[in-house]
Symmetry: C2
Subunit: 110 residues, 2 copies
DNA sequence: AATATTAATCGTATATTTGCGATGAACTTA
DNA sequence: TAAGTTCATCGCAAATATACGATTAATATT
């Protein structure tokens, strides 16, 4: 097998952390998460009212957050109620904590 | 002014958090940061030896981490020594903590 | 001075992301 | 049943990200 970037096997933690980070890497998605975190839950309608973007764009961001596992939607016809996916949220929290948890006492070289 | 996505003024925190998250959103960059965090510092050479990718690609990832402020390079001719940018690292840590710090006691709706 | 090492940058190809308007499916309400 | 609401998806355009090899500038070594 050729030794190129295509064939790297990252640790599952690194891959998962990268996926979560990617989901958090857009200000609109951070705004949505903050909103959900404050409101417990909300409907897409609410977000469309708050965010100055097309409904389709917001729907796309919601899809990404859902696919990353950070939120979940429950059907409440004809609306969909979104909320934080608690389990994965805590998982993400743990992974980000792990990134930053290191001791800096030894880092005095720069 | 037209009310489109182009004209949104995100809070500085959201924008900064998104920039940090973007820097963390690739497994190679997470690997580099982990390496730096363990080793205190390292040279590009070291990373090229460890990561199975072209030197130019690694250099590009280093540039992104540097532009996000998470690492810094000091010239040590003919090499460049990279290490974590402690100040911004702690800033990033604080911002990510802030994302996840919420109380979940009220989130029982889903 | 000539050669080697280091690491950034350029040029290029391909993939992904972001945004919008338009459409459509599912469900409600009149 | 007809009209309205909700929200996902499609199709498209533009921007950004990712990777590579080749080149270049700076410095070190012979």
């Amino acid at each position: 097998m050729e030794r190129t970037a295509q064939n790297i096997d990252y640790t599952e933690d690194a891959a998962q952390t990268a996926r979560f980070a990617k989901a958090l890497s857009h200000p609109v998605r951070l705004t949505i998460l903050k909103y959900l975190n404050n409101q417990s839950c909300c409907f897409t309608t609410d977000l469309v009212g708050v965010l100055p973007m097309a409904q389709s764009t917001i729907s796309q961001h919601l899809k990404e957050l859902k696919e990353a596992g950070l939120i979940q939607g429950t059907i409440d016809p004809p609306k969909i109620k979104y909320c934080i996916n608690k389990e994965n949220w805590l998982k993400a929290q743990a992974l980000f904590e792990r990134i930053f948890k290191k001791d800096f006492s030894k880092i005095d070289c720069c």
